[in-house]
């Protein structure tokens, strides 16, 4: 079995605001070489590095917007988010929780800092990821998986090295609770200083590590500091990370879907015609209606 080497270590780009509530560094698709094709099935990754929001009576966030053709995965590390959609659904994503929303044929929603949290303010740290859907599932019915922190599977690494929390896919004998349309592994590796963890994925799976806390060394040589992303090459299967101080690392690995991608704004389809149809359906209210 070959070593999966580090292709690049990406530093966080200039942050920008999504609405007024999410101050994010975009890693996928607009930076470095990490476009949708290269990172497939991970087609967008916005990272809100730890940022302190002052108290606000009016919750900050992002207003009504649609999605079609993919899933949005929101991982709340610090802070709380409330969301509402045009079907009348809604909920709160608390610290440590994961919201896996299958937008598929279409969702119209808005996301804001949770009201009580907003009044107090504080540190906010979050990842929003878009996971592509295969052509056959792009127009399936929307659904949510609200995954509470306590329901996330845990694998304790020997010698008190740390814990792997499995959101989707698996790690050793621990399975993630999220169901996915294509093979995906999504884990939080929480490593103690000096702790090591090994990972093994097929070479062709697109794989990346996002360092949320602390510093790590990948394969004994490549340093990835806080808020940096390590893109793994498609050259081998196995790699190892070691925490040089207490660290939290989001590990993503997924099988590429390898279908044509036509993307514009909040729609990710296979053809231009399907994109036009998405805009047309949205304009005509087929995604429903939601007050800002």
């Amino acid at each position: 079995m070959e070593t999966k080497t580090v292709e690049l270590i990406a530093s966080p780009r200039e942050p920008h605001f999504v609405g007024d509530g999410f101050r994010v560094h975009n890693f996928i698709p607009s930076g470095y070489r990490m476009d949708m094709k290269r990172m497939d099935p991970f087609i967008m990754l916005d990272y809100n590095s730890t940022y302190s929001f002052p108290p606000s009576d009016k919750p900050k966030g992002v207003g009504v917007h649609p999605h079609r053709g993919f899933e949005t995965v929101t991982i709340a590390y610090k802070g709380k988010v409330a969301h509402h959609d045009s079907s009348g659904g809604g909920g709160i994503i608390g610290e440590g929780d994961v919201q896996w929303m299958t937008a598929a044929s279409g969702v119209l929603h808005k996301e804001y800092h949770e009201e009580e949290w907003s009044k107090k303010g504080g540190d906010f740290q979050m990842v929003q990821l878009w996971v592509n859907l295969p052509k056959k599932d792009k127009m399936s019915a929307p659904k949510y998986q609200a995954i509470k922190y306590d329901d996330i599977g845990r694998y304790d690494i020997e010698d008190n090295a740390g814990t792997i929390e499995v959101i989707a896919g698996g790690y050793k004998n621990t399975q993630g609770v999220a169901s996915t349309f294509t093979p995906i592994h999504m884990l939080n590796a929480k490593l103690n200083k000096g702790g090591k963890a090994e990972f093994e994925y097929p070479a062709h799976y697109n794989t990346l590590l996002l360092v949320l806390e602390g510093n790590i060394v990948v394969n004994g040589t490549e340093e990835a500091p806080t808020d940096h992303l390590a893109l793994m090459a498609n050259d081998g299967e196995k790699f190892e990370i070691e925490a040089t101080e207490d660290a939290v690392v989001l590990v993503l690995s997924g099988e590429p879907i390898n279908e044509p991608i036509a993307a514009h704004g909040p729609f990710v389809m296979n053809t231009r015609e399907e994109l036009q149809e998405a805009f047309n359906d949205f304009n005509k209210g087929k995604f429903g209606y939601l007050e800002d």
């Binding site: 917007h65 649609p66 045009s86 079907s87 514009h264 704004g265 909040p266 036009q276 805009f279 047309n280 949205f282 304009n283 005509k284 209210g285 087929k286 995604f287 429903g288 209606y289 007050e291 800002d292």
Partner: protein, 197 residues
């Protein structure tokens, strides 16, 4: 700089090779404008037709009560100008402002003349564009005089399929000559008709 917008526009409309197009468009300046930056203000003289390679512009006037009236939006591949100012040398009544960071080709009369000289059929094509623009303006006047809010909205989304997500609702209402509340009602009613849970 990579000049895709104007180059693609010309190559897709004329039978002309890419190298020649590239040499022609070299003489047309390109400007990067930031969001909220102006390309034209009231009382200035408009010297260009603006072709949007990337981004989004709007043309509007401000009445003597301070209210804005949006004449047009110009997303990618659209032209916008004040013809009265540019072709009749009058001070402009309008503002042209970037609503997003934009890349704009600054087309002047010399450039149009050069294209007319170098590209067979350009004059014919340019006339066609002009007629199309007048057609659109006539339709717009007719809708503003006679149509209910829903029909104005339906025409708007046919003209500008991807703008709804890019500009505030108040601006769309201004373009349609209706209140933001009416726009919200129209969109809600359409959703009630068309949304299947």
């Amino acid at each position: 700089m990579i000049r895709t917008g104007l180059k693609t526009f010309l190559t897709s409309n004329f039978d002309i090779d890419e190298a020649e197009i590239l040499s022609l468009i070299e003489s047309c300046t390109v400007k990067e404008v930031r969001k909220n930056q102006f390309l034209l203000r009231e009382n200035e003289h408009c010297k260009h037709t603006f072709f949007v390679e990337k981004g989004l512009l709007r043309q509007y006037s401000i009445d003597n009560k301070g209210k804005e009236h949006i004449l047009s939006f110009a997303p990618e591949n659209w032209f916008v100008t004040d013809r009265e100012s540019a072709y009749f040398n009058q001070p402009s009544k309008y503002y042209i402002e970037a609503l997003e960071d934009s890349t704009v080709a600054m087309i002047d009369e010399d450039f149009i003349q050069m294209l007319s000289d170098k590209i067979p059929n350009f004059t014919h094509f340019n006339n066609r564009l002009l007629h199309n623009h007048i057609r659109q303006l006539q339709n717009r006047i007719n809708l503003l005089l006679s149509a209910v809010a829903e029909d104005r909205y339906l025409q708007f989304i046919a003209t500008y399929p991807d703008i709804l997500l890019r500009v505030p609702q108040t601006m769309i209402a201004s373009y349609l000559g209706i209140t933001p509340e009416s726009l919200s009602r129209v969109r809600k009613e359409l959703a009630q008709k068309n949304f299947k849970k």
